[in-house]
Assembly symmetry: C2
Homo-oligomer: 344 residues x 2
DNA sequence: TATGCCGATGTAATGGATTACATCAGGGAT
DNA sequence: ATCCCTGATGTAATCCATTACATCGGCATA
């Protein structure tokens, strides 16, 4: 009874037209006469026909999907960015393949799989630490593949980017501490080679310098954006003699890990030390204490990246390389909550 | 210079064999002679050939991908489950399409898109509130499509499931409060019709009954698993006269929202009220105070669901409907941290 | 009436890999 | 020497939708 699913042929037969007409009715309704159009739609109803996307993709030399490369899916920071991407992309009829790159970095072997030709029509990259050569040479998406960076980026690779002004954002964070009266201000950065780490650290330094405050190496702790690394930074802070009274951490997760660890040591925020995070995760306003932080418009970042990629996919390759890669910078804002106060 | 990418034909030509042999070399190396195999591999190297997955999928009547239906991507609970799924699935050569169902529930219209025939070879469903009929009748994955449920499930749909024993888990949570000496215990549940809500609430009731404690309707608050709903529950708690001294909330996010809101009202946990969550999110040990909660083996849930789906996809349809749907129940444990203490 | 054009539709090639079936060569058995 | 069998390989149909090109009918203009 239920043989194979109905194909365009069956529809054509029922409607009494050729397969070409059915196809046209579906992808370009205006070119067929109204009478035909109706009988085709009717035949589609009757047969229960559904387009075979794979066949279309094969013929059109597309894949119907795009891939998003996320450095770490467990980081809640990315969820809303992905929502934004998925929203725009599925509206445009694309599938969104989400790929966590963290296993790849250690297992280069599997990497090119994700780039198999025809596997994806485009790439949104949220991970600035991917192996450059791998990205450009080996795996199939040769230098001409539509590709946009969001949040993070890679300097040597000239591609459209959607970012925020990380430097200015960290400056804002630090200025806020300065404004509250802090004179001893520290910083916890992300992983060493990350572009965000660099810009945020530079912003922090710049703001300190502008305020005439010391930039002390022993007040600049290392982290990796994770909760645990925030806790580790807290331990360093506790261990030092001359402690900063205000700290700006390059991610909310670190800020929360930091505060959590201090709490365990009976040190309270903001009474004993003020904390400014970065990201404004959903949980930030619910944390104890509610976190002062830099708000990133994450859904917007995702949407903007998706739109940019769509545009990029629509422009023919030769035009693509010619024009300079557009750079969108979205605005951020400081959200003042209760993890900051005047110094003790 | 760079025409279209090399196809199996080009390889065949270079290797001096037929396309059939190339295909066999790739998908079934044992049947070709060693000499041929070598020359084919060599030709692949030389031409830079990559398999066109779309063509293979068309021919094999597969899609090469599976879809995961997540109720809410922003909920950090799902990240590790997705990691587990992706790990197993990409090992097996499948793409993983992650789909947030929250826009769908309101926009039924778009729903069937995701189920287009040949769009996915299987489904992992983490959302027990999907429209049953939609799932079974309309969209293409007619009743025979490989489909497994994880975390949540739908009673009327008999499919393999990977779950935890939610009822027993909540019993554990409540027993812990009882053991600490609490006699007035409340509960905050998830969204009304959710299967998890029901089982966890039942577990809570059962444990109270077993301990000879009152099950008071005014101590059972409504929530929806979100941070905000936890905060709302806290406001209800604050507003009531006769307050429970211990609360078990059906998700960590709610527990954190609850604690955060209480903190704002100068009520502290666990001094004034003890809190037990559910899930053991990454942030739970870093929260202030560190959260006592039920640990769910989330990566394992993801892995198990993926393995089950793979097996399901391998068994022919007729066998599939015949055999009873397997049910895997993974163990949970109570993690005692600092959000619980004896009652004031 | 003949010519030309346009809109609507059909015909058939195409995309790339898979695989049922056909073929062929070589070894072993009689 | 003949026949059969087996392992290796080739031939060609197939999966389904798309689209360049061909065709056809009808209307308008000369």
């Amino acid at each position: 009874m239920t043989g194979r699913p109905p194909s365009i042929r069956d529809v054509a037969e029922v409607a009494g037209v050729s397969t070409a007409t059915v196809s046209r009715t579906l992808s370009n309704p205006d070119v067929v006469s109204e009478k035909t159009r109706e009988s085709v739609f009717h035949a589609i109803q009757e047969t229960g026909y559904r387009l075979n996307v794979t066949a279309r993709n094969l013929r059109r030399q597309e894949s119907g999907g795009i891939a998003v490369l996320v450095p770490n899916l467990s980081n809640p920071f990315f969820a809303r960015i992905l929502s934004g991407i998925a929203e725009i992309m599925s509206e445009a009829g694309y599938n969104v393949l989400i790929t966590d790159t963290s296993p790849m970095s250690h297992d280069e072997h599997r990497f090119p799989e994700y780039f198999r030709l025809n596997q994806t029509d485009g790439l949104i990259i949220l991970d600035g630490m991917l192996n450059r050569e791998l990205l450009l040479n080996r795996g199939a998406p040769d230098a001409r593949a539509p590709m946009v960076f969001a949040c993070e980026w890679i300097d040597e690779i000239r591609r459209p980017t959607v970012t925020i002004d990380n430097r200015a954002a960290s400056e804002m964070a630090v200025r806020h501490l300065v404004r509250l009266g802090h004179r001893k201000i520290g910083h916890v950065g992300g992983p060493p080679d990350n572009v965000l780490t660099t810009s945020r650290r530079d912003g922090t330094r710049e703001a300190l310098r502008a305020a005439g405050l010391p930039v002390r190496a022993d007040w600049f702790y290392d982290g990796d954006f994770s909760l645990d690394s925030g806790a580790a930074a807290a331990r360093s802070w506790l261990a030092s003699k001359d402690r900063p009274t205000g700290i700006h951490l390059a991610s909310d997760e670190m800020a929360m890990g930091f505060i959590g660890e201090l709490h365990r040591a009976q040190v309270s925020v903001p009474q004993d030390v003020s904390v400014v995070g970065f990201d404004d995760l959903e949980i930030a306003p619910h944390f104890v204490p509610p976190l002062t932080t830099i708000h990133q418009p994450r859904i917007e970042i995702g949407r903007a990246a998706a739109k940019m990629l769509l545009e990029r996919m629509r422009t023919p390759p030769q035009d693509r390389t010619r024009r300079p890669a557009p750079r969108v910078v979205l605005p951020v804002e400081l959200v003042e909550r209760l993890s900051t106060a005047p110094p003790p």
